[in-house]
């Protein structure tokens, strides 16, 4: 049995992970130094969710993917240039902070409101995808709250695989403690899945996909709704980067066992 899903992916931007980040205190609370100057990328966790959504939509004829993205409009526009050639989606843009220092509750409320406002959304076909966590926020709470606000009871976090069974039920592989997976089943949509890494490689650039996506991306950005967070009740006692000690080696073709031994020795020192 084939089911046409309406798959809404929540995903925003984070600073390019190759940049050196430095937290600073700003009048509005903690922030990253020069954050608006840093290049941005789609949050890698959300990226996995988007690519899984596209693969599912491709396998289930009639399905459609939306990407609901909350971030500074100029930065969203920039990131769309790099991901809109990957997979087909329709963008729903919200113009606001994508900072890791905003309250997850506020972010979830804005995302849930935007999802609920998508015209023609049929909850019986709705799958909400997102990153289990985020490269800018490790709380892992946002997607759960989005689901709660949308009244979706079947929620799965740390998902590595989704299989649609012949009867339309969903079989989901979730990460649990101890490096193991838990297999769950639910009857079908609506469901919310917070993805871990999934199993799909990053899709290759496809100019035709890009050309089609861009026809909806730019109008979506132009009408992006501004979102302002009050930030009430949220305070940061302190913000600091983990202390790091770097010792650089560039070595090719070394056996994994040898690398592991060397790392263990280094840690022991």
């Amino acid at each position: 049995m084939s089911t046409a899903y309406q798959i809404v992916v929540c995903g925003s931007i984070v600073p390019d992970p190759l940049q050196t980040l430095e937290p600073i205190a700003s009048p509005a609370g903690p922030a990253l130094k020069n954050e608006m100057m840093l290049p941005a990328v789609l949050d890698p966790w959300a990226g996995h969710a988007l690519y899984e959504a596209a693969a599912l939509a491709k396998s289930q004829p009639g399905s459609k993917v939306w990407l609901v993205s909350l971030g500074p409009k100029a930065k969203l526009q920039q990131v769309m240039m790099t991901i809109a050639q990957k997979v087909p989606f329709e963008l729903v843009a919200l113009d606001g902070s994508a900072s890791g220092f905003t309250d997850a509750t506020d972010t979830a409320a804005a995302l849930a409101e935007a999802i609920a406002a998508i015209p023609g959304l049929d909850k019986s076909k709705l799958l909400v995808f997102g990153g289990w966590e985020s490269a800018s926020r490790g709380a892992g709470a946002t997607m759960q709250m989005v689901g709660e606000r949308l009244g979706i009871l079947d929620q799965f976090q740390g998902v590595d695989r989704l299989t649609v069974n012949v009867d339309g039920s969903l079989e989901i592989l979730e990460r649990i403690e101890g490096g193991k997976h838990q297999v769950s089943k639910c009857a079908g949509a609506p469901a919310l899945l917070g993805w871990a890494t999934g199993n799909l490689p990053e899709p290759k650039n496809n100019p035709q996909v890009g050309m089609v996506n861009m026809r909806s991306v730019m109008p979506a950005l132009q009408k992006a709704r501004p979102v302002k967070f009050a930030g009430d009740g949220l305070a940061f006692a302190s913000v600091a980067l983990p202390k790091q000690l770097r010792e650089t080696q560039v070595v090719k073709d070394k056996l994994p066992d040898d690398i592991a031994k060397e790392i263990v020795e280094w840690i022991k020192q």
Partner: protein
């Protein structure tokens, strides 16, 4: 896939082109000002493909008069472009050698002696002489200091927000599609291939994008521009033989810095007389600084990274830099042939703009403004042709774009600069005098001779270090470095008397750490090597593997049987290997044995 216009590369020239074009494709009421041929009823479909992973990567910090930029953006000074500053104090400084390690001619040593003798009456401090007067053609007063990374991000956002053109970073163009001497579009790079380009997992052949007009703005060493150079040749008398690699740091200056935003400092004389330096101060205690290593620098160990560190350690500069912190790092090849390297600007179905079309002015030290200007000139003529429903033939493009370009300041000033650097073929002192002469006489007079092919200027290590390092010692160093699979320049410079760099972990860091700390390198999997040794047998017999020494990212290392190894994951796409090769290609002596093809990845830094 069909489009109306496809652009290759998103540099300043293409940004100028798209800025001008995108504003006029749609009327105020939203209807198309001109109609697409491939999507009737819609405005022209304009696509731009850029190799780098984002619009602001792989470019550099500059000082510019900003004439063309200001014509496009009259409010550019107050547009809020990060790291932009109006030009303030400008100085040109001659750096003397405080350590006696540089290779100076007898004339320069004599001049240094005179300067030191008369230092009490000269503007001399910290082993440097500030030139009391500089000719007006060197000045940028009224101009701007820009981080090109930030400016290009900003300009890209302006263009994209019009919704009329699409820019796709991370998508290299492999080649132009040429049919019956007409360019009919481009082919994108194959994805899912092995190092040699053979199909592998997830093979996706590069898509053909067919378009009535292909705008080639892929810079001085872009694969499409060079393909067209080979396909159609260069106009009689023109050649592309002058190059330089610019290597730079973006630095957080110390908290107590006295350098003011807008300060422009240019240096010459040290660490080697042939190496020029620059320091531009952005707002918020940030500086862009670096050096240019030109192709007429005869050293076979043209390692820009270590030379840059010695330059920073010069007492005149170090007093400002000590305590600073490296934010970002990068390198880029500049095409320094300028007007003399101009290719055929147009042909049936294509037009060329920007640095790869010979816009760089080597006399005024300006390139971005000129590149931008040619982009806007092409856009205006494209709109004229579209509105007149005329095809993009060579004749039509010549009568519009080329005519407009010939009548502009880009051409006038390019002609003045054309022979201004000939003197450097004979030496630094002759070169400096020749530049002044050309500049002060509007190009009527110059010194020196026509540049020769870069490979002809590369001497052997033994010749270059004659009298400083014994042949036997060079042989030993060569063997030792080969055994360790590292480049030679460090050992040679140590032996020649250069002091070790006192690494501080903040600003003075190892070359490898610079790659990891600021502007890190990334190379997506599934793409072929873009640096290819055309005739490996020539590498086997090569004694001056300058490609290894000059590689900005340590991506080229000693390899088996003498053929250098290339590591795509470390390549910053500076393009220096293209001209830092001592072996001429037997099939074409105007090019060397290294091919720099289309490739993905490179530096991830938008502050450069």
């Amino acid at each position: 896939m069909d489009a109306d216009i496809v652009c290759v590369g998103f540099g300043p020239a293409t940004a100028g082109f798209l800025t001008t074009l995108s504003r006029q494709l749609v009327n105020a009421d939203g209807t198309p000002a001109v109609e697409s041929a491939v999507l009737p009823g819609m405005p022209p479909q304009v696509l731009c493909y850029e190799r780098a992973d984002d619009t602001g990567f792989g470019v550099s910090g500059i000082v510019t008069r900003a004439r063309a930029l200001r014509a496009s953006f009259p409010e550019i000074q107050t547009a809020g472009i990060p790291m932009a500053a109006p030009v303030g104090e400008e100085k040109v400084v001659y750096l003397l050698d405080p350590h006696g390690a540089s290779r100076r001619s007898a004339a320069l040593r004599c001049a240094d002696g005179l300067i030191r003798t008369a230092k009490c009456v000269l503007p001399f401090e910290h082993q440097a002489l500030t030139l009391p007067w500089t000719p007006s053609f060197l000045h940028k007063n009224g101009g701007m200091i820009l981080s090109m990374g930030q400016f290009m991000q900003w300009a890209g956002a302006q263009v994209q927000s019009t919704g009329t053109v699409q820019i796709w970073p991370g998508t290299p163009v492999a080649q132009a599609l040429v049919e019956d001497k007409k360019v009919v579009g481009v082919r994108l790079l194959d994805q899912g291939v092995d190092k040699k380009g053979n199909p592998a997992d997830g093979f996706t052949p590069g898509m053909d994008i067919r378009a009535a007009l292909t705008v080639v703005g892929d810079g001085p060493f872009g694969p499409v521009g060079r393909q067209l150079d080979e396909e159609f040749g260069l106009p009689n008398g023109n050649h592309i033989r002058d190059w330089a690699v610019g290597m730079k740091f973006v630095v957080d200056l110390p908290a107590d810095t006295t350098l003011k935003p807008g300060t422009v400092l240019h240096t010459f004389g040290y660490p080697e007389p042939e190496i020029f330096g620059f320091l531009y101060v952005h707002p918020d205690r940030v500086a862009s600084l670096g050096i240019f290593v030109p192709s007429w620098f005869d050293s076979p160990v043209r390692t820009a990274y270590r030379q840059l560190q010695h330059w920073m350690l010069h007492p005149y500069l170090w007093r400002h830099l000590q305590g600073g912190k490296l934010r970002s790092w990068g390198a880029k090849t500049l095409g320094e042939s300028g007007r003399r390297g101009e290719p055929h600007l147009t042909g049936d179905g294509y037009a060329r703009i920007g640095e790869g079309s010979g816009t760089t002015n080597v006399l005024t030290g300006s390139g971005v403004d000129e590149a931008w200007a040619t982009g806007t000139q092409l856009a205006e003529t494209v709109l004229e042709l579209l509105k007149a429903k005329k095809p993009f033939t060579k004749q039509n493009l010549d009568e519009t774009y080329v005519k407009r370009r010939r009548a502009s300041w880009v051409e006038t000033e390019g002609r003045i600069a054309e022979k201004s650097r000939n003197g450097f073929q004979k030496g630094v002192a002759t070169g400096m005098i020749g530049m002044a002469l050309a500049g002060l006489t509007n190009g009527k007079f110059s010194l020196g001779k026509e540049p020769v092919q870069p490979w002809k200027r590369i001497s052997s290590l033994e010749e270059y270090y004659a009298g400083r390092i014994a042949r036997g010692d060079i042989a030993k160093l060569r063997e030792a470095c080969k055994a360790k699979s590292v480049s030679l320049h460090g050992a040679l410079m140590d032996q020649a008397g250069w002091a070790a760099i006192p690494f501080d972990g903040q600003l003075l860091v190892s070359h490898q750490d610079a790659l990891l700390m600021g502007g890190k390198v990334q190379a997506p999997p599934g793409c072929a090597d873009h640096v290819v040794f055309r005739h490996p047998e020539l590498c086997e017999q090569c004694e001056a593997r300058i490609c290894i020494e000059a590689c900005s990212g340590q991506a080229i290392t000693p390899g088996e049987n003498g053929v250098p190894a290339f590591d795509r994951e470390k390549c910053v796409h500076c393009g220096a290997c293209l001209w830092n090769c001592s072996q001429a290609d037997p099939e074409n002596p105007e090019r060397m044995n290294i091919a720099f093809r289309a490739g993905t990845g490179g530096l991830h830094s938008a502050e450069n």
